[in-house]
């Protein structure tokens, strides 16, 4: 081989290495949440200890307890996650996964793992990300922007109620938000397992958080893998906030929205059309 040819080969090899390095996504073995860095190697024994019984040693939701659990545990090999701050169809951020592990999921068997140290939780998240090749191929989406929440008023609540009717939320969640709409019994998730819509009577927590911002985020990102779609392209931010304010009145809680609603309802309740097939929502 002539010297020029060897030199050219060396440069080409270096270029190929650099090129490959530049297109590879950030290593999925690491997770960054705040100042913490999680590592999959440290997360593996923690996953085995705490998670594998349901989610399975391979993250495929085939743990020994999975058959007894309803709803079924998350299948990490699909790389699909319900609770995200990112647009529908995109990967969640590390913070999203960390929040899910910390918070747990209401009305499921997934408990809050808040008793684990934050470092432990970040390490577990790192390991969870090794189960799907999606993490190798793509980066997490960009979190959606949540505009400031306007103060709740009876007008916003009534408009939210109208949207609840018009957007046909009631078909799944039921006219009173009890999760008993006409479509409720037919719903399945992305793995064809039956899934129930959220019942707003169950308490203070939603699937992905407890605050009005969390509820807003659920509308706008959807719950991937479930029938709950993203309404990002159908709802303007102001409309979404109105819907949030109305949904808060369906919960058995003393919220500002519920206080406004009850005060108005005692004098104007008869004016309302019922929500449902024949209803108008106003």
């Amino acid at each position: 081989m002539r010297p020029q040819t060897r030199w050219l080969s060396l440069v080409s090899a270096c270029g190929a290495v650099l090129l490959l390095g530049s297109v590879s996504p950030a290593p999925a073995q690491e997770t960054h949440v705040g100042s913490l860095t999680g590592r999959a190697g440290a997360g593996k024994p923690l996953y085995t200890r705490y998670c594998a019984g349901c989610h399975g040693d391979d993250g495929d939701a085939q743990g020994e307890n999975a058959q007894w659990i309803d709803p079924k545990p998350r299948d990490f090999t699909t790389g699909t996650f319900k609770c995200r701050s990112t647009p529908s169809g995109s990967l969640p951020t590390d913070q999203d996964l960390f929040n899910s592990v910390t918070r747990g999921f209401v009305t499921t068997n997934m408990p809050p793992w808040v008793a684990l140290t934050a470092q432990n939780r970040v390490d577990v998240v790192s390991y969870i990300k090794t189960f799907s090749s999606r993490w190798q191929r793509a980066r997490p989406g960009t979190p959606i922007t949540i505009p400031p929440e306007p103060a709740p008023t009876i007008q916003s609540i009534l408009h939210g109620r109208e949207l609840y009717q018009r957007m046909e939320c009631w078909k799944c969640h039921g006219p009173a938000g009890h999760g008993d709409g006409p479509s409720a019994k037919t719903l399945t998730d992305s793995k064809d397992d039956p899934i129930r819509p959220y019942n707003f009577q169950t308490g203070s927590r939603f699937m992905c958080g407890t605050t009005n911002q969390d509820l807003y985020r659920i509308f706008m990102t959807g719950l991937d893998g479930s029938p709950m779609p993203s309404f990002d392209d159908q709802l303007k931010p102001a409309d979404a906030w109105d819907l949030v304010h109305f949904l808060r009145t369906l919960q058995p809680l003393k919220t500002p929205e519920a206080t406004i609603w009850r005060a108005w309802f005692t004098t104007h309740g008869r004016e309302l059309k019922p929500i449902g097939q024949e209803g108008g929502g106003q």
Binding site: T108, W113, A115, R205
Partner: protein, 456 residues
């Protein structure tokens, strides 16, 4: 001291050979049943209820992990709205059972017998049973917890180890919980969830030691009857409890006296390092009373009429520290009794210290050791030798869990424990159970235990 222990352990091979010979004494350690009254607790019923592996709540069962501690503090509720019994299948029943078939060997020196009033070495060995704990714990409703632990000893006697109801998260605050009934004290180093099973290793001297001639009957490790008000942060890293307890060491019936005991605990955990759990430090204190005078009938004291109560105190500090998979649990305490509680005109006082180490290689393999000392700082009677009652205890063990599901669990348990007591029988009661002839005689007691520890 450790070297002396190792020297004392040398006859182990002899003991094994002795175990092959018929047990001429035919005596079982008198307090072995009592040891298992303190049988450790692990509750597969919860694992079945929630679908979690044992390892979620236990570093190596039965010891609680930080997650398990929070679960317990929250009234055996995970907090995911699946806690109320209404969520459970009708077939679910919140009961688990635990027992431990085993082979064990006990060897104790300087034991007084009929044929050897000056003392001899006694060796006792054979297959044995632990009895059964029935663990019934769960929720009656959201934020209302119950606990019931009947026990069935291997000889057929029954007991009631625990029976309580707990109102959780009063005012929707984790800082306010009220428990009433018979229950384990809020000990950071729990003797109910201890990973030791042998006669000499299954007790903590810090929790049960009493000086020579004491009329006190209190033991930290004994379940007590009363009310406990407790609280914790959301993640249970900060915890406290205050208890008012009847002055009868957990014995049911009308309390012996009219006063109450009081206990206080507080601990704080810090998320430092990347160990299996957080780093926790805690303190505890107990102010107790025992009556010294009773109304009597026919010379027998009438229950519940005790008066002239005399006090005793226990206080100390403990920690739970993690370095990777290595857990270190130090505990120091000081104790003193009123002179009227015996044996003389002075107030006896003593100190204890222990260091327990667990290496949790995996959730299915635990290697452990413990060293504990008791030192009398003041005897209740000047004629009692200063060292009488001093004790040293050293224990090693391995627990392997061949499988670990949410339905049941089993541990292969091997343990060697030995104690050195001066002028007294070991806490295990091994041997003849009689104090040696001389108050300065050293008694060595050794336990070897091989067991199948299972719960289902």
């Amino acid at each position: 001291m450790v070297r002396r222990f190792l020297k004392a352990a040398a006859p182990l091979a002899t003991l094994l050979c002795a175990a092959m010979a018929p047990n001429r004494a035919g005596i079982t350690a008198r307090s072995y049943t009592a040891a298992y009254a303190a049988l450790t607790t692990r509750i597969p019923a919860f694992a079945r209820k929630y679908g979690l592996r044992c390892s979620a709540c236990h570093t190596a069962w039965p010891e609680l992990s930080a997650f398990g501690q929070r679960f317990k503090d929250n009234g055996y509720q995970l907090g995911n709205d699946r806690d109320s019994p209404i969520w459970q299948s009708n077939a679910y029943w919140p009961i688990a059972m635990r027992t431990t078939p085993q082979w064990r060997l006990e060897n104790t020196t300087n034991q007084v017998t009929d044929a050897a009033p000056a003392g001899k070495t006694l060796t006792q060995a054979g297959f044995d049973l632990s009895g059964v704990d029935f663990l019934l714990l769960g929720t009656l409703y959201k934020d209302i917890t119950f606990g019931l632990v009947p026990t069935l000893d291997a000889d057929g006697t029954t007991g009631l180890e625990a029976a309580f109801v707990r109102f959780d998260n009063l005012g929707n605050s984790p800082w306010a919980n009220l428990k009433v009934g018979k229950f384990e004290l809020d000990n950071l180093l729990s003797e109910k969830r201890i990973t030791w099973l042998s006669a000499n290793g299954g007790f903590l001297y810090a929790y049960h030691f009493l000086p020579v001639g004491s009329a006190n009957n209190f033991g930290f490790g004994d379940n007590q009857i009363g009310a406990e008000f407790s609280g914790h942060s959301i993640n249970s890293y900060t915890r406290y409890s205050v208890s008012l307890l009847t002055a009868d060491d957990g014995t049911p019936g009308v309390p012996g006296g009219k006063s109450m005991d009081a206990m206080f605990t507080a601990s704080r955990a810090f998320a430092l390092g990347s160990g299996v759990g957080p780093q926790r430090v805690g303190v505890f204190g107990y102010l107790g009373h025992r009556p010294t005078v009773f109304d009597s009938s026919g010379g027998a004291p009438i229950p519940g009429t005790g008066s002239a109560n005399k006090s005793f105190v226990r206080f100390g500090a403990t920690a739970q520290l993690w370095v990777g998979n290595l857990e270190l649990i130090p505990l120091v305490s000081h104790a003193s009794d009123d002179a009227a509680l015996g044996p003389g005109a002075d107030k006896p006082a003593w100190n204890t210290a222990l260091l327990e180490a667990h290496y949790v290689a995996t959730p299915r393999l635990l290697v452990q050791g413990r060293y504990e000392i008791v030192r009398m700082s003041k005897q209740g009677d000047p004629v009692i030798p200063k060292t009488q009652g001093n004790a040293d205890a050293l224990t090693f063990g391995v627990r392997a869990y061949p499988f670990m599901f949410s339905r049941d669990g089993m541990a292969l348990h091997a343990e060697f424990a030995m104690t050195k007591t001066i002028g007294t029988v070991p806490l295990s009661g091994d041997g003849s159970g009689v104090d040696p002839v001389s108050p300065t005689t050293v008694v060595w007691s050794r336990s070897l235990l091989l067991a199948f520890d299972f719960a289902f």
